[in-house]
């Protein structure tokens, strides 16, 4: 039987997955962050990415629904509130819809998800179902793309502020807020995975789960790029520029 990797080697293996496959390497992000997107390409990104944002609290609720340890449930619960908000605090989804408004989209249209690419929905729902169906360790491991998120959020804030008129503190509040939320979440998730992946088989499964999640993110950008950048073929029924705009 092969031995489990050491904690450090296993963490390095997880980080290497991000270095190779995280969607910061996708050319759409270079285009977006360097100011190369048209307004409509930014809109297409905002309205498709909404589907992902909206699914995250469902994913986290699916996770909590399977956990029998009240302490773990309690530790995970803030993720739902971060996105859905509370009576006192706006959540990430509301912040995302302010970004949608800032780029000229009707937030109700965006929230309806009517114009989203089918491929976006397939990828996002694959993630929700993964967390609903797979072992808890794999479910936590799939959240570890957050390890790689702070850099992309910083690049995005700087890039959008530098290149786009719609960008300001209010419209980019989502990303600013994630800079403090994500590290807290991922520190917990990483410790959980390093603690619980105590055989090579579990380490392999956790690495596969993180790889799966990078696929979920990459596939969304590929579909976006294909529909709205190159070759620029919008699938039947998906958003066309001009639809869903603020009155």
């Amino acid at each position: 039987m092969r031995q489990a990797e050491t904690r450090d080697a296993f963490e390095a293996r997880l980080r290497a997955i991000g270095a190779e496959r995280y969607h910061d390497k996708h050319p759409f992000h270079a285009l977006l962050h360097l100011g190369g997107c048209t307004q409509d390409q930014v809109r297409a990104w905002v309205l498709n990415r909404y589907c992902y944002q909206e699914a995250i609290p469902r994913k986290d609720a699916a996770f909590i629904s399977r956990v029998e340890d009240p302490a773990l449930r309690r530790a995970w619960r803030s993720r739902i509130e971060d996105h859905d908000g509370s009576a006192e605090h706006e959540g990430g989804i509301a912040r995302w819809l302010r970004l949608a408004e800032a780029v000229g989209l009707d937030p109700d249209y965006v929230a309806s998800k009517r114009g989203a690419l089918p491929a976006t929905r397939f990828a996002v729902e694959a993630y929700v179902r993964f967390v609903r169906e797979m072992p808890l360790l794999d479910a936590v491991a799939s959240s570890l793309t957050e390890l790689f998120a702070p850099k992309i959020h910083k690049d995005r804030i700087a890039g959008l502020l530098a290149h786009y008129d719609f960008a300001n503190e209010a419209s980019l509040a989502y990303f600013q807020r994630r800079l403090s939320e994500a590290p807290r979440d991922v520190a917990f998730g990483l410790a959980f995975v390093l603690d619980h992946a105590d055989t090579l088989e579990k380490q392999d499964a956790a690495a596969a789960a993180l790889t799966f999640k990078t696929d979920v993110l990459w596939a969304q950008l590929d579909a976006l790029h294909s529909a709205y950048v190159e070759p620029g073929r919008v699938p039947p029924g998906a958003w066309q520029p001009g639809e869903g705009m603020l009155a």
Copy 2:
């Protein structure tokens, strides 16, 4: 309350969904059928489409698992055998793997699905889960893309025979066989949907299910086109030309 459409009007509505959105309109099919694909593009199509073929009997088993009427279960069961085969008869999946061999791919590699595009898997599994989770009427309606399949299979047989060296009666046996299987299945499915969609609400749901299924098919070709035709960017981990070839 709005009235249900007549049987004829509702059938026409379902057929119009195919006329607008079925994947015979996707440019990849024109490329394939007119001889414009490279060998590697054909291989990419064969190995990705395998994922869809392999999922069909799981989808049909998921359907049968939810049906309480033995007669309906019995009527549906041949679909599993058509694809998986029996002791006496080769099934559609085995025929598909012969096509894979004919284009030079190792059938074990294809069957492993290791090189398939993540977007293919997300779309295909969305279909399996739709049939597992949605009302039975919607599940049956989602199978009605078979209404539009005979024409594409005939075009494909003619186009592949005309343009590609690998094409012959043996390698294209899958498509030839579907020309007799699909009409029988879809006659049953269409009658079921027309009989059971007896309110406008159910008709709308059945039309939405068929639309969803056209999205599942279209998204697969979009991902294929994006990875291997234009812009030709293969996602991390997916098949690269040269991999998985017959020794």
